[in-house]
Structure formats: structure tokens, C-alpha cells
Subunit: 346 residues, 2 copies
DNA sequence: CTGAAAGCGCTTACAG
DNA sequence: CTGAAAGCGCTTACAG
């Protein structure tokens, strides 16, 4: 009690069996009579026996640790994923060893070597990295790889990410439900897979109701606020009639709102606006001003942890796991009209 | 290469020495001739030898893992601390095992037992927990304890947290620098240590310049937006002349702004407002609207990790480590006047 | 300075 | 079904 922890030998002695038998009685491998199993269990219980995790890891080769490669870990996109995953893994007694993924190929290779020496049971990659799959293969990295927070590309066995198509669908359903029919989509480069998926979800859901985007397609630019501003001005100048804008993210939505305000268009009365990322979730100041798609990144982290656990257990995992997104409804679509102070004051 | 990793035995064989000698040559313990040390090192280098961490942990008893007890891990106050700490520890090859600190005493005791069985090298407690020091003592928990994100109380050896006094001082300096002299302080309960420290920092820094709070002292209520609203209305009703408000947090500041707007007071022209927490950091939409104290929680996490590393190394650590806060200057103190749309649109 | 050996606490074939 | 033994890869007194 005071010093040395109780060991399997103590339990075996207390139960009157050998350590080998005690181990089998407590573990899953090997046959033991029910009677001795009970006796050993009772002894273990009585002594509050906790097997030394280090010894067990040493002999089994499972470290109960997973490596985590994180792109910009302290950013708002990664943090909730990392914490959600760590929490879920921690519940299962799995530790995490985090390394920065913002690194050169040789640095990444070095990280992987360290993690292999650590005998991590799996590697979770959060965000974008240069060719980690390829590097892992070239190093003969022995643990399963799980990816989170990226769009899947070739070579990845298991990717956990947001349901980007659904994001577009939710936006469409919400706006259609509000009676909007002349909808514009101002978003980032079509070369980004997530952008393409969201656009497809939006367009398809609108088509199903016989509606198409006012400009005939998405307006592709960047994720910058300026792009939202500029694209909206273009729409206004072109006298394109529109009663709703789906923005690529909350920053772009900000630019849209600014342009609308300058032009004297009321939100949501004249134009409803939807963002993406729901940054307001983090400020939590009470009233939601911008309607926005919330990617539930903590849930992505948890789902990624579940995928990691499955991979460790040797179970087959789906190649792509899409985590549902949610729509955070705010005043930019449902009113009352956005107005001075009431919007900065919370 | 293909299968079994290179082991110390391989290195020893390559260098023509025994494993024991190889171990001494690579490690710090025991004397070895410089010649053989070099030979062993060369062999290790050539074979790209990485000692099996599990074997090493097993024999040394150090797991290279620290337990983390987190109060509301996925919250905005904890996440940056957790990620900052994990990242720093990861750089040093230390893994983290996270458990929820929002638990009953017996659950916490159970967590600690698990962590002891895991042989964690230290325990990092983030946020508030019921009596963890006491529980650890009653369990004879063998690893050092480090606390982050709480105000120190009796019994804690090492606490890493924000410099709360400095928060008050920064607010004072900023407002005085802007020529404000009639300053109100609307904050939460004086029973909260952080509140008391911030108030003390504010009052002392003002006193040094011959200024005192308009109401003769801080107005203590809660951290709720409503309190900010109500307290401001009281000030207005009492015809208390004031040209600045320091709010307990950004939520309270929101209430203050709402009340001022309703009363037709311009911000910052008539009244400057400072918040605390700088939630806008997370939305990062471009222009800072609310001036606010930013507690730099990622830095708290990093500093906590450093304290953990020191504790593991057996070094003496300071009982309280205060991490500097910063002032994020926004339009609520420096203008231009907060106005419609321009403030929600970014 | 170096080698041979014991040992960390567990798991798991291998005999009985 | 159970016990005795080997072994996981390293570190570290202990002899030489």
C-alpha cells in the first residue's frame, strides 16, 4: 500500500495459484476453471489489483498510446477535433502523443520514426499534411492510420470528416423553407474538394425543388471576407435579383453583409445570408446573429477516436466516415432585421 | 528493416560489445571508455537504432505519459490550455492521457487509480476540481501535481494561471492613456479570487494616478450579460457620470453595450468599454470591435507543460506561475464609433 | 572499463 | 485445468 503497488504475484499468492494461472484467470486468453477464476477475481478485487500498464504494454507490444499529427493544432479548426478525440480516447485509457504536422517531409519522417519507437497503436492525422500516407509506407510504419478534418484522397484507408454535401443540403432546405427562391452561392475555389461537395449538395437539393442558383452556378473566389464583399457588389451591380446568399464561410458572409448594408438591403428581409463554420458558437454571447453551418468538430474528433479504436481492435472501418453537420439558425435568415448595436452587443 | 526493429542487441553485436556496455555507452549512467562509446554510437547511428520506449519505460518506471484532468475539456476556456500543453509535451516525447475532471470524488479517485496504474509521470489538472490534492494524498498518488487555469488555494504545490492583477492594470493604463478618468468596474462576485485580483490591479493602477472608480468601488454581480445590462442602467439612472466601463468578461461587456446603446450613449465617444476573455480572437473576422483582455490560454498551457517537465525532472518549481495577459485593442475604446452592420458584418 | 547476470511485471506457449 | 518457464528489450548493480 505505502510503497510497492500490488502485483499479479500478490494476487496469485492470495488466491493460492501461480502467476500464470492468475494471469489467465484475469485475462481473456487460456482456459481456467470457473472456480479458480472466481477465486482469483475475488483476490484481485480484495487487493484492488491494477495490472502495471507498463509491464503489460511491454509484453503485449501495445502502448495504449496513439500518435497525433496535427496541422496548426492551436487553431480553431483543429482544437475541437483534437480535444474531442483525446477525451474519447482517454475514456478508453488511450493516451495521445501529439506532434506538429506543419513540417517538412523529413521532419515528418523523423516524427514517424519517434512514434514507431514509441510503439504507438495507431496514428491520427488531423488536417492537411504533405503525403503522410506515402511517408508512412516508405518507412514501413506498422500502425494503422486514421485521418480527420480533410477530404479523402487516394491512398487513405480511413478518413473522418464533416458531411460537406449535407452542409449544402441544409442550407438549401432552410432557405427554401423560408420561401427564398433566388439564391446565390459565394464560395471559395472549386478546386477545393469540400467546396465542390457543398456546392453539389446545395445545387442538387435546389434542383430537386426545381430551383437553380441565380447566376446559374456558384461564384468561386476565396475564403476571404473581401471576396464576399466583392462578389455581392457584382451581383448588385449586375442587377441580379436575389433574396438569399449562401456564403463559403463566416468570413465571406461578413463581406456579403457589409456589401448589403452599404447598398441599403435589409437582412434578412431583402436578403437572407448563411455562413459556414458557425464561429459564433465559440463566442456564445447569447443571440445568434449569423445563420451558419456548424461542422460539430468535437464530434468529428470523437468519431475519429472511435475509428482509431476500431482500427486498433483490428476491425474493418469504413473508408470515409461523414459526420453530420448542423444548422445554427440566426437572425441573418429568420430576423428580426439586423440592426445597430443589437448585433455587436452580444 | 522489414520486420523486427533494430534492438540494442543488434547495436552491441555491430560494435562488438555486450548489451550492457552498449546501454552504458548510449546512456548517461556508468563509465565507458571514450573509444567504445564512439564505436557504439557509430553503430547505433548506422543502424538507425531507436530504443524501444516500452521496454525502457518498463525498466525505468517512467511512462513518458502525463495524466490530464480537465474540467469541461471541450469548452473554450480549457481547449487552448489543453492543446498548448499537449503540443509542448509532445515536442518532448511526452504523451497525455486525458480524463474528465467534472466528476464525483469517487470517480476522481478511480481516475487517479487508473492513472497510477498507468504510471503517469505527472498529473496536470486544468480548471476546477473537487479537492484533487486531497484525493491524491489520500491515495498516496506518487506523481507530481501541476494545476492550470485556476487561482491557487492551499495545498497546491504548483499552479500556472493568468496574471489577473495585470489584467486590471492593463485596462487601467489603456483607459488612462485615452484620457478617461471616470471609470466604472462591473464584474462578477468578489468571492471569486480572479475577480478580486483583477479589481485590485485596476484599483491600484488607477490610484497610482490619483484616480478612483466612479462608484467608489467595483460593482459585483455575475458573469452574465444581464448583469452588465442591469448595472449599466443603474449607473445611468443614478446619473453617475462615467466615461469608461471595465467589464468582468465579454458577456458582461455585451450587456453594458446594450444598455449604453438604448440610452443613446456613443461608444467609445461617450463611454469606452473593455471586456475580458477576448472571444473575438476565435472568430478572427478582421476588425476587433470590443477591446478586451486576452488571457493567452495557449501560453498558459505551454507554461503548464514546462512546469510539468520541470516537476518530472525533479526540479523545484515556483508555487505560482503567472502568465502575462495581453490587451486586444478594438473599436469599443479607440473608435470609430460602433455603428450598424459594420460591427456584425465581420 | 567491460561482461555476465539479474530483474522490471506481465503474458503465453509448453508440458504435465 | 494448472504450473513452471521462457521471454519481451532494456538498465543497472555486481564481479572481474
Amino acid at each position: 500500500m505505502s510503497k510497492g503497488n500490488v502485483t499479479l504475484g500478490d494476487v496469485a499468492a492470495a488466491a493460492g495459484v501461480s502467476v500464470g494461472t492468475a494471469s489467465r484467470a484475469l485475462g481473456a486468453v487460456g482456459r481456467v476453471s470457473e472456480a479458480t477464476r472466481e477465486r482469483v477475481r475475488a483476490a484481485a478485487e480484495r487487493l484492488d489489483f491494477r495490472p502495471d500498464a507498463l509491464a503489460r504494454s511491454f509484453v503485449t507490444g501495445r502502448s495504449a498510446t496513439v500518435g497525433v499529427l496535427a496541422e496548426h493544432a492551436v487553431g480553431l479548426h483543429s482544437m475541437p477535433v483534437l480535444v474531442g478525440a483525446s477525451e474519447r480516447l482517454g475514456e478508453r485509457g488511450i493516451a495521445t502523443l501529439m506532434r506538429d504536422a506543419h513540417a517538412t517531409r523529413s521532419e515528418l519522417a523523423e516524427h514517424l520514426k519517434t512514434l514507431r519507437a514509441r510503439r504507438v497503436d495507431a496514428l491520427l492525422v488531423v488536417g492537411d499534411t504533405p503525403d503522410i500516407t506515402e511517408i508512412a509506407e516508405s518507412l514501413d510504419f506498422p500502425s494503422p492510420l486514421v485521418f480527420a478534418n480533410i477530404e479523402p484522397s487516394a491512398g487513405q484507408r480511413c478518413v473522418v470528416t464533416a458531411d460537406e454535401r449535407q452542409a449544402g443540403e441544409l442550407a438549401a432546405a432552410h432557405l427554401l423553407g423560408l420561401g427564398r427562391r433566388r439564391i446565390a452561392h459565394i464560395t471559395a475555389s472549386a478546386a477545393l474538394p469540400a467546396v465542390a461537395l457543398r456546392a453539389a449538395g446545395l445545387v442538387d437539393a435546389l434542383s430537386a425543388r426545381g430551383v437553380e442558383l441565380v447566376t446559374g452556378g456558384s461564384l468561386h473566389g476565396s475564403y476571404e471576407r473581401e471576396w464576399g464583399y466583392e462578389a455581392t457588389q457584382r451581383l448588385l451591380t449586375a442587377r441580379e435579383g436575389f433574396d438569399a446568399v449562401v456564403a463559403g464561410n463566416d468570413g465571406v458572409a461578413g463581406g456579403v453583409l457589409a456589401a448589403l448594408a452599404e447598398a441599403g438591403r435589409r437582412v434578412p428581409d431583402d436578403v437572407a445570408v448563411i455562413g459556414h463554420d458557425n464561429l459564433e458558437r465559440h463566442t456564445a454571447r447569447g443571440i445568434q446573429s449569423l445563420t451558419s453551418i456548424d461542422p460539430s468538430r468535437v464530434d468529428i474528433g470523437r468519431a475519429a477516436a472511435d475509428a482509431v479504436l476500431a482500427a486498433i481492435a483490428g476491425e474493418e472501418t469504413a473508408p470515409v466516415i461523414r459526420v453530420p453537420v448542423a444548422l445554427a439558425v440566426g437572425r441573418s435568415t429568420t430576423g428580426p432585421t439586423l440592426s445597430p448595436f443589437r448585433d455587436i452587443d452580444r
